[in-house]
């Protein structure tokens, strides 16, 4: 049924228009370390090229996107230039960014703050206690920022966490909600509806528009979630937007 995963390896990287004014280079249809690295490296290369008409670039989990002025720039010409760059080297062997940080973030698992822990654990085939242990033991990498300002996609959890999104949306999760789907976690930087299941709540605010540095995380940073009880969470929350999170440089 999954036609998207039946492509031969030779089909990637793949270039396609996204909307009238965008181009997308995909390095795979499932998440992998090499594909994530390739996406980040190609984005930086496109930035260095400074092609006329290109208005912005970004990298998501396994792809690089560029937006151009469709009325000023011939999309076909840009696509050809991009194809040439993509084929010029093997982007999957690129280095991870330097200057990365490891973040330790306190989180309350379950309780009325994160009522879907039981459902998510059940889908992952483990008890709630084991679910908490497995998540807390996973050193998760910021694979990309997206969905909302400063919000990370974190990966990967063990194989048994390949659980789909919900069919219906949760009407609203709070800022700092830790949610799971398809071996990934996300830590919400805004309050929003979501199709991901919430397993924990943190007191960390990842996007602070009023601050001098509005965005806390960078792609390539790593995160460890540390289970704490409700009382500790409430205390950390009262202390400020860091929610007890601390960062150290990754050597």
């Amino acid at each position: 049924m999954d036609s998207a995963s039946e492509h031969k390896p030779g089909e990637f990287p793949r270039i396609a228009f996204l909307g009238l004014d965008g181009l997308l280079v995909s390095f795979g249809d499932r998440l992998s370390e090499p594909a994530n690295r390739a996406a980040l490296a190609l984005r930086h290369a496109v930035e260095r090229e400074s092609w006329p008409g290109v208005e912005e670039t970004t990298a998501s989990l396994v792809s690089t996107y560029l937006r151009f002025d469709a009325l000023a720039e011939d999309g076909a010409g840009l696509r050809a230039r991009l194809a040439e760059l993509v084929e010029s080297r093997d982007w999957t062997t690129a280095e991870l960014p330097t200057g990365r940080k490891l973040w330790r973030v306190p989180a309350v698992f379950g309780t009325d703050l994160a009522p879907q822990l039981e459902e998510a654990a059940s889908l992952a085939g483990v008890s709630m206690d084991d679910a908490i242990k497995e998540i807390a033991a996973s050193r998760l990498r910021v694979q990309t920022l997206g969905f909302a300002p400063g919000q990370p996609y974190l990966g990967e959890l063990p194989e048994n966490w390949t659980i789909p999104r919900q069919t219906d949306l949760t009407p609203r999760v709070q800022v700092g909600a830790l949610c799971v789907a398809i071996r990934q976690m996300t830590l919400f930087s805004v309050s929003t509806p979501t199709g991901w299941r919430q397993v924990a709540q943190t007191a960390l605010r990842l996007f602070r528009p009023e601050a001098e540095a509005p965005f806390l995380l960078r792609p390539g940073d790593e995160v460890l979630f540390q289970p704490v009880d409700r009382a500790a969470y409430e205390r950390l929350r009262a202390e400020g937007p860091d929610g007890g999170a601390v960062a150290e440089a990754i050597p």
């Binding site: 997308l24 998501s60 009325l71 997206g146 300002p149 999104r165 069919t167 398809i182 930087s189 805004v190």
Partner: protein, 338 residues
């Protein structure tokens, strides 16, 4: 007294909007900005100023306003019931709002988003390079009763009392889309069924996205709900888990994991934003050359707006005695007083 507009009453979903903050996708911030970009161009033409200035966006319902100084205003986007000192005021036009005068803007008569522009633009502080509120990201906020919005200096010798021909983008209709990287996840017959379908604009739409309910069975991609999250852009048509279509709007997220059947052209997005709950929309796929032509035509139309201005027949200050000639449906003297 500083040059400002005071909000004596505010509808439930009013915010300051401009062209948004493009260029922050890599940090996870979508561009945001006015839900109906065409309305910004109309306001700019009516006031003879740039379309980069901030205006007030009013979803479904306006408010009551008072100017601290004489200022020019323009009313664009979804036509709303409007009155100046109790006298009906023409929509799609520019007017003088004199110091102390009371401007009342009521419910939308068609469409969703109405705009109130001022000569000089609203001078609320810039955050990350723009003045528009990004409600989903927590930048700025919904406007509330009692707010006092600074207004920038207007150019010398500018006039008011112009109008633009009415537009038809406020009642749904057919919008054009291009195929994208995920279109191939849908079987050909599913795409054909999608193109043939009528959709009803669901009341749940907002600045992030507009939900479209198909008249028949929902739509489904072969990849189901387990595809990888990917860059999404305004106009993308996501097919969510229950088979309905969610069109991503200016304030949508920057990445998403629902399969997207295509992307609505930027020039047709105002029609989606302005389709009121219950309106019927259809989507027609076009090839890139036709899409580009449509976009070029829309740009030409935006640039030609100032050449389409006509003078209001009467000075708005004399409108009071025209009340008996007011023929716009639903507008009668006095019933906007609250």
């Amino acid at each position: 007294m500083s040059r400002a507009l005071i909000l004596h009453r505010a509808g439930p979903a009013m915010s300051v909007q401009d062209r948004g903050r493009p260029g922050q996708l890599a940090l996870g911030l979508s561009r945001g900005g006015a839900a109906d970009r065409m309305a910004l161009a109309e306001g700019a033409a009516l006031l003879g100023q740039g379309d980069d200035l901030a205006a007030i966006e009013m979803a479904a319902m306006g408010g009551v306003f008072e100017a601290t100084e004489d200022m020019r205003i323009a009313l664009t986007g979804a036509p709303m019931r409007a009155a100046l000192e109790g006298a009906p005021l023409m929509w799609g036009a520019s007017h003088w709002l004199r110091a102390g005068q009371r401007l009342e803007i009521g419910p939308a008569l068609s469409g969703v988003y109405g705009y109130l522009h001022v000569g000089g633009g609203f001078a609320v502080p810039e955050v990350l390079g723009a003045r528009g509120a990004h409600l989903a990201a927590g930048i700025g906020a919904v406007l509330e009763q009692g707010a006092r919005l600074s207004v920038g200096p207007d150019a010398e010798g500018k006039e008011a009392g112009f109008t633009l021909p009415a537009d038809d983008r406020f009642a749904g209709g057919t919008v054009r889309a291009v195929a994208g990287p995920q279109t191939r996840m849908f079987p050909q017959d599913e795409i054909a069924r999608f193109e043939a379908a009528s959709f009803t604009r669901d009341p749940r739409g907002n600045r992030m996205g507009v939900r479209l309910i198909p008249e028949g069975e929902g739509f489904h991609a072969e990849a189901g709900l387990s595809i990888l999250s990917e860059v999404v852009v305004p106009g993308d048509i996501q097919i969510t888990g229950n088979g309905t279509a969610m069109v991503l709007m200016a304030e949508g997220q920057t990445t998403g994991g629902y399969p997207r059947i295509g992307t609505i052209l930027p020039c047709d997005l105002p029609r989606v934003a302005q389709a009121p709950p219950g309106a019927t929309l259809r989507v027609r796929f076009v090839e890139r050359p036709e899409a580009l032509e449509a976009e070029q035509a829309a740009q030409a139309a935006r640039r030609a707006l100032s050449g389409r201005l006509t003078r209001l027949v009467r000075d708005p200050r004399d409108m009071r005695d025209l009340l008996s000639y007011q023929l716009i449906g639903g507008v009668t003297a006095g019933d906007t007083e609250g």
